[in-house]
């Protein structure tokens, strides 16, 4: 992972990185990646994902009303009446 890669990931994640910290992030990011590389050492060819049982975990199609929606609306940074309010999204 190089400098451009870090900038691309930061952009996708909507993160702002100060110029001076790009090097540090690149280094740390590569450390994390190489740690996960260890998983690649295990041969998983022809091995399917582990599941306790090959059966469906499903829910019946029934409506259960959630009663505390005001707490959800209250969790948002901003609201207007019963809407969540966000910065203007330009659509045209």
């Amino acid at each position: 992972m190089d400098r451009d890669g870090i900038l691309r990931i930061a952009k996708l994640a909507r993160l702002e990185i100060e110029d001076g910290k790009i090097e540090k992030f690149t280094e740390e990011f590569n450390k994390i990646l190489s740690y996960f590389e260890k998983l690649g050492e295990v041969n998983t060819k022809d091995i399917s994902p582990f599941l306790l049982k090959n059966e469906n975990v499903l829910r019946e199609d029934e409506v259960i009303r959630f009663k505390d929606r005001d707490r959800i609306l209250g969790n948002a940074p901003d609201r207007q009446d019963d809407f969540f309010k966000v910065k203007k999204v330009i659509e045209e």
């Binding site: 996708l12 909507r14 994902p49 599941l51 090959n54 059966e55 469906n56 975990v57 499903l58 829910r59 019946e60 199609d61 029934e62 409506v63 259960i64 009303r65 959630f66 929606r69 959800i72 609306l73 969790n75 901003d78 207007q80 009446d81 019963d82 809407f83 969540f84 309010k85 966000v86 910065k87 203007k88 999204v89 659509e91 045209e92």
Partner: protein, 477 residues
């Protein structure tokens, strides 16, 4: 301008007919007050877990069957990551590498349109920029739709004209409605359609650069938008210009497509398997259960209706809605099918329109329509009489025979003949003229009988009786 060949592929999203959302138990009710059908799961609160809706999966299997797809024994959900305020989790749960169904087709009148895949996903929320006509100093988010189950149906680029796209959409909608998979109502957002359009000069060339067009509100608009986009691309290329891969919005008011965003690099959605959900397993039992729930589909019904002697127009109208077609089949079981079709298309649909009713809300017993059709076909009652009694039949669900009795409608030829004799003696000069060969003179006698019966006799029948009487007289002489 040299000739270009258009290539069109459609992505259709339909809302599956479920009561609750795809991964939580919130209602999918259309038109609920803003943010009333929300919960911690569909608003992406920390620590929640999604749970798959059984019915949505069954409906996806049924759709796969109707679309002649292969139903996968094993499929998985995936996360599609992007930031937008209508998507509180910052990812949409969809299917990517392993969709639930793939490789199917829809048969049109002249050709087959291939289906690449039909996969499950959840809808996003809705953004509002105005309240009434007043602009908001930001954007408002309603998450009622967020998490509603959708099936995305992706066609192969097998479509070569706006008309074929239109026919494909109509056929697809009919299939999904017949099998009760989706309401496919564009106005209510339960069907949406994006089109990929490109043109090239010959089939030997590789496909041209495509644009994606969105924001059409009806099938007619889809047809118009595609036609516009084909012409636009042809013109750009003929003038030596270049087509960019971009998303274009249809502006229905102006009848044009407008550039929305240019895709400079392919969008990076960083798909990966959804770790919060187990895979979907579909066995033969589920497939067979769903297969049994599929009624006779439009193509098969069309054939049967043609065999019954109906016109192409009649067949098209009757086959459009399954319940209307069922009604016709029930009404014509022992009755003249052509006449039943006439009554349903003219009178029944007329009354339904007036009262703004759906076929499900019609109380009139289809057998009564059959009875009326036979009375009409045998000439016992006239079109006027049908017109007069149908509204009452419709409203009160009364058999026509009873209404005819109540109205004192004269359909008995013996009774009518007596009246005709009366008419003759009251209009003896007209009778003499008629016998001399003046056809027009019969009108006075027919008019008299009609007046006497207050319009409840059939003029054609009266005329027939009159003719018979004249011939008998000739014979006497």
């Amino acid at each position: 301008m040299s000739d270009f060949i258009p290539t069109i592929g459609l992505e259709v999203h339909v809302q599956l007919k479920t009561k609750s959302k795809m991964f939580c138990s919130c209602s999918t009710d259309f038109g609920a007050a803003p943010n009333t059908n929300i919960c911690p799961v569909c608003t992406g609160q920390p620590g929640v877990l999604p749970a798959k809706n059984k019915r949505a999966i069954e409906l996806a299997v049924r759709a796969g069957l109707v679309l002649n797809c292969r139903i996968e024994k094993y499929s998985v959900f995936a996360r599609k990551n992007y930031f937008y305020p209508d998507l509180p989790k910052a990812y949409q749960i969809s299917q990517y590498e392993l969709p639930i169904t793939r490789d199917g087709f829809v048969k049109l009148s002249g050709k087959k349109i291939g289906i690449i895949r039909a996969h499950l996903e959840e809808d996003a929320g809705k953004l509002l920029h105005y309240i009434g006509s007043v602009p908001v100093d930001g954007s408002l988010v309603d998450l009622n739709r967020c998490g509603v189950p959708l099936l995305e149906i992706v066609s192969y680029p097998d479509i070569d004209s706006p008309e074929t796209a239109f026919e494909y959409l109509k056929t697809l909608r009919r299939l999904l409605r017949y099998a009760e998979i989706s309401d496919c109502d564009m106005e209510k957002g339960s069907l949406r359609c994006d089109c990929n359009v490109s043109v090239r000069r010959s089939v030997d060339e590789p496909l041209g650069v495509k644009t994606e067009i969105k924001n059409m509100n009806s099938f007619r608009e889809v047809r118009e938008a595609i036609a516009y986009e084909i012409e636009r691309q042809k013109k750009v290329l003929s003038d030596g210009g270049k087509i960019y891969q971009e998303t274009r919005l249809w502006n229905g008011r102006k009848g044009v497509t407008v550039e929305m965003r240019r895709k400079e690099e392919a969008a990076d959605y960083r798909y990966f398997p959804e770790p919060d959900l187990t895979p979907i397993f579909i066995d033969e039992k589920i497939i067979e259960e769903q297969r049994k729930l599929i009624p006779k589909l439009p193509a098969e019904r069309k054939e049967k209706l043609f065999e019954m002697g109906l016109s192409e127009y009649q067949v098209d109208v009757l086959v459009e809605e399954r319940k209307l077609c069922d009604y016709f089949i029930a009404a014509s079981e022992n009755s003249n099918p052509k006449e039943v079709a006439n009554l349903i298309i003219t009178n029944l649909l007329g009354e339904m329109n007036k009262k703004r009713l759906d076929i499900e809300e019609v109380k009139l017993n289809p057998l009564f329509v059959g009875e009326l059709a036979d009375l009409k076909a045998s000439g016992k009652i006239s079109a006027q009489v049908v017109k007069r009694i149908f509204p009452q039949m419709f409203e009160k669900n009364i058999p026509p025979s009873q209404l005819l009795k109540n109205l004192n409608i004269v359909s008995d030829e013996g009774k009518l003949e007596k009246l005709v004799w009366e008419g003759i003696s009251e209009n003896s000069s007209a009778w003499e003229d008629y016998k001399m060969g003046k056809e027009k003179a019969s009108g006075r006698i027919i008019g008299w009988v009609m007046k006497k019966t207050r319009g409840s006799s059939d003029p054609a029948t009266v005329k027939k009786i009159l003719e018979r009487l004249k011939d008998e007289k000739d014979f006497d002489n």
